[in-house]
Point group: C2
């Protein structure tokens, strides 16, 4: 019998098709640039950087540029109402520190990364890659946020991806 072209496709529930399309998208396809501060930056300067760069999460890197922490608007707000001297307090006091940071990689699916943000209640994930010959150290090569997901949702809804 002649194969019925397209029949198999159309017999699938649309839900499954949507899920398949979403699973094709990799973090590397949509990731943004990471915004980072050095680990000895003050909380005050981190807040200023956050406003200047217009991001909700900053990566905190050591002197060699490797990921050491992540600091969110929420972390900084908590520090800011705590009453300490924000110009003297280093950001390392309030950041989430390696190895407790939830990360993603360029070849992970955006679906998996999005699930991590929901499960761990974070607004952004650093996109990292291992450093050759330096076990336990990672380099930050990007940033994936709930804004990235929202933008992607709009693109999908407009048929543009």
């Amino acid at each position: 019998a002649r194969p019925r072209v397209g029949y198999f496709l159309s017999s699938k529930p649309t839900q499954a098709l949507v899920a398949e399309e979403i699973k094709k998208i990799k973090v590397g396809d949509v990731k943004g640039l990471p915004r980072a501060v050095k680990v000895n930056t003050s909380v005050y300067d981190a807040v200023v950087t956050m406003f200047l760069e217009d991001v909700g999460t900053l990566m905190v890197v050591d002197n060699e540029g490797y990921l050491e922490g992540v600091v969110s608007r929420k972390d900084l707000l908590k520090a800011a109402i705590g009453g300490g001297d924000l110009q003297k307090m280093p950001v390392s006091v309030v950041m989430t520190r390696m190895p407790n940071i939830i990360c993603t990689t360029s070849d992970e699916t955006v679906l998996t990364a999005a699930r991590k943000m929901i499960e761990h209640e974070v607004d952004a994930l650093p996109v990292v890659r291992p450093v050759e010959g330096q076990e336990k150290k990672v380099e930050v090569i990007g940033r994936l946020t709930k804004t990235t997901i929202t933008r992607l949702f709009v693109e999908l809804g407009e048929g543009g991806r």
Copy 2:
């Protein structure tokens, strides 16, 4: 001629099918509960409420419960590093005020609401409805955030919606 069932569907590009499915979802289907403070609440108490309720945006309502403003983590962080007395400063000083608030409604599509969040660079929208006989006043009946969109994206990717 006998209609070729499913043929039309399968001849559509998958992108268009995904877009169609996304356009079916209304704000009312996914909206969360609004979290609100009164307009005379201090910035300090608003921050505390934000942490207790674990939200990134609070609705600010007048004494009758109608929407008067919206305050984000970003607004509060800006106030917190400004150096004023946060216990004495009312949240109304730092909030975005009506009619400048970007809102959505239950019967709007989530796609349209998501596009508003991207275009206006906000993390959350109040879901509102008009008040009968009170022109220019609105009641807040929900909240749509980038977290809502991320959760929806995960559901779509898992084939669960």
